[in-house]
């Protein structure tokens, strides 16, 4: 009798303790943050791009967390790693974020070679990888099935079409020349620009390449000048882009320069000097001019959080901030729709997004199994530097 009572008592306590531990575990899980990884250039020539992306992600994460987080109150936490614009370091950083930190999703940076190095890893480990700047076409169109790589950014192939159309329309370009950085991003644009030039039924004056640390680009530019180039398409990040502008200035050659957006990822106006003002380049967003309700809200949040932002001109680079903000919000919708932080469910969740009123535009079905790029050529805007600020060109 005594023994039976003892058994009942022990059983009761076992059940009670189990229930208590179970509820504790559930509450711990609810409180456990959802980790958001970011691998971008936080140092070196493109450090400003990493800062811009950080700010865009942070503002979006703050908004989401203020609304109560995701998946029953779990807060989002951003974990950043510096890829130093180096593909190997980017891949190592992505590995660390996936395996050690256990991030649910990854965001990329400005450098296409780094993103291209992370793509196979993201697809193998089934971790959604969202590009917010790097524009190389094969990043999202990588042939993987299923494909875990998405992008809220420009696509080289489409950017190149837009750049050629702009040069033909504004400068009546008939023999444009190319100055391309000698890396996979440059190669991606070589293909895109060559195709776009052929489609526009004009011919190229030449294709020249340079290294990221080249000091003098007069020899390459001399070849383009000898080839009677009437416009130069520039594909480079800030520092080598600045060296090209200095070389151009020394040649006293006043040819229009139409550029991809890599130059906006660093201190281009400071490095290039007065030549910086002569470059026209592409962006996906400008904080100048009338802003939507979302634009006003994001700008106010940026000014509130970062004391160095006094107005729209201080949001540099705007493309990094805007793309990252929209990408994070879209990713949050996908996680909510997935009901889980499982990579494959989030991937399905991205396909399931119907409409989202974002900063850059209102997205309608931004992603599908056939299309992993949320932005297209209708979302691009041509801009230039006025002093240190990026301002849109008159249409």
């Amino acid at each position: 009798m005594v023994r039976a009572r003892a058994v009942r008592t022990v059983s009761f306590w076992c059940v009670a303790v189990s229930a208590l531990l179970g509820s504790l575990a559930a509450s711990v899980r609810a409180a456990e943050p959802i980790k958001v990884g970011m691998v971008a250039a936080l140092s070196g020539q493109s450090a400003k791009s990493g800062e811009g992306i950080t700010r865009g992600l942070t503002i979006a994460i703050d908004e989401i967390n203020a609304r109560g987080g995701l998946l029953g109150g779990r807060q989002l936490t951003l974990i950043r790693r510096d890829d130093e614009s180096n593909p190997s370091k980017g891949q190592i950083a992505a590995r660390e974020l996936i395996f050690k930190e256990g991030v649910a999703v990854l965001f990329g940076g400005i450098d296409s070679p780094v993103s291209l190095a992370i793509v196979p890893l993201a697809n193998k480990e089934k971790i959604p990888f969202m590009g917010v700047w790097a524009a190389a076409t094969p990043i999202t169109r990588n042939g993987a099935k299923p494909n875990f790589v998405f992008r809220v950014s420009a696509v080289d192939e489409l950017v190149d079409k837009a750049l050629v159309q702009y040069a033909v329309k504004k400068y009546a370009a008939k023999r444009p020349g190319m100055m391309l950085i000698n890396n996979p991003w440059g190669e991606s644009n070589e293909k895109g620009l060559t195709a776009a030039i052929a489609a526009a039924k004009i011919e190229t004056a030449g294709i020249e390449k340079f290294e990221a640390n080249d000091v003098d680009m007069v020899p390459q530019l001399s070849r383009l000048k000898a080839g009677q180039a009437d416009v130069i398409f520039l594909v480079a990040n800030a520092a080598p882009g600045a060296q090209m502008m200095k070389s151009l200035e020394r040649m006293e050659w006043t040819v229009p320069v139409v550029s991809h957006w890599g130059i906006s990822g660093g201190r281009f106006p400071e490095l290039a000097g007065k030549g910086a003002q002569h470059v026209e380049f592409i962006q996906t967003y400008s904080f100048f001019g009338p802003q939507s309700a979302v634009g006003q809200r994001v700008l106010a949040a940026l000014q509130d959080k970062y004391p160095d932002i006094k107005g729209p001109g201080d949001v540099t680079p705007p493309v990094g901030v805007a793309n990252a903000y929209d990408a994070m919000q879209l990713m949050a919708l996908a996680i909510a729709s997935a009901g889980s932080s499982d990579g494959d469910k989030i991937r399905q969740g991205l396909y399931a997004i119907e409409t989202y009123e974002g900063l850059i535009k209102t997205y309608h079905k931004p992603f599908s199994p056939e299309n992993h790029d949320a932005l297209n050529e209708n979302d691009y805007v041509m801009v230039h530097y006025v002093g240190e600020q990026i301002e849109p060109l008159a249409k």
């Binding site: 000698n182 020899p219 390459q220 001399s222 520092a239 600045a242």
Partner: protein, 290 residues
């Protein structure tokens, strides 16, 4: 016209490599060792000049002199801690040690100076002069002038002064030199200090044409070492002339054949030149007097 522009442009670029390579020549001539932190010394000169002139808004003269003094101290540190201990034990590990100390400096600068490249303004790189239809900054003319001046100074010191001959004696037979009253360790330390001053000066001259960043010395250091070997590392004139030739050939290949061929053809030519003349274009086989 294309070739003329390439020659002018390449001469300016090549003289930058030559200027930096003079430091390799100096330490090798005096001690048979090479300072692989030479690129970092160049970066140090540029970063300190930027910090004093732009960040702290010091007078330009102080912003040039003080960094050169600090570079000299840095050169002594490199010799004392990464060369002398290994040479004493007959080890060649100074190769790795100097390189490692250079990397340590680069990272220290990365954390203190900042992560982004900055522009060092100079009135000598503001308005180009027109030479044969190509704009050339006055600084691009000053660099080869300074390089040739330093090469001449080194040549005269080694050939015409007692101290220079003492320096050469140090590399021939350190023990005999010591017995003759020459301060061997002090001489080698001075050589490292002067070589770092050369590198720091080169950094200050090159920075307005390029930019100032913690990794700026890496690329220049590698090419300068290639130039030093090509010229014949013991010949100051040879190193400077090899630098100019290298820059001109590089620019000519780019201008005439296109940028995809630049590195392939230039380095193939370097290999061919060294195969035909293993001691460099202007170097001589070392003679060991016994």
């Amino acid at each position: 016209m294309l070739a003329v522009m390439a020659i002018i442009s390449g001469f300016g670029l090549g003289s930058m490599y030559g200027l930096l390579a003079l430091g390799f020549s100096l330490t090798y001539t005096v001690s048979n060792t090479v300072n692989f932190a030479q690129g970092s010394s160049m970066m140090l000169g540029a970063v300190l000049c930027y910090t004093f002139a732009v960040t702290m808004k010091w007078h330009m003269a102080s912003s040039i002199v003080l960094p050169l003094l600090l570079c000299a101290i840095w050169g002594v540190v490199v010799e004392r801690f990464t060369v002398r201990p290994f040479v004493r034990r007959g080890s060649s590990a100074w190769l790795m040690a100097t390189l490692a100390l250079g990397i340590v400096l680069e990272n220290a600068v990365l954390f203190t100076f900042g992560k982004e490249p900055r522009s060092l303004p100079s009135s000598l790189a503001a308005r180009p002069l027109s030479i044969a239809g190509l704009g050339v900054y006055p600084l691009q003319l000053l660099i080869p002038f300074m390089g040739l001046l330093m090469a001449l100074a080194l040549h005269l010191v080694f050939r015409c002064t007692l101290r220079g001959k003492a320096w050469l004696a140090v590399v021939q037979n350190p023990d005999a030199a010591q017995l003759m009253g020459i301060n061997v360790t002090g001489t080698i330390a001075v050589a490292y200090a002067v070589s770092s001053v050369f590198a720091g000066g080169a950094g200050m001259l090159i920075a307005p044409l390029f930019n100032v960043s913690s990794d700026m010395g890496t690329l220049f250091g590698i090419k300068a070492f290639a130039v030093a070997i090509l010229g014949g590392i013991t010949s100051a004139w040879g190193v400077m002339l090899a630098g100019c030739s290298y820059g001109i050939i590089e620019a000519l290949i780019t201008a005439l054949f296109g940028s995809p061929y630049t590195n392939v053809v230039t380095f193939t030519l370097v290999i061919i030149a060294l195969t035909c003349m293993p001691h460099g274009l202007f170097g001589r086989a070392g003679v060991k007097k016994v």
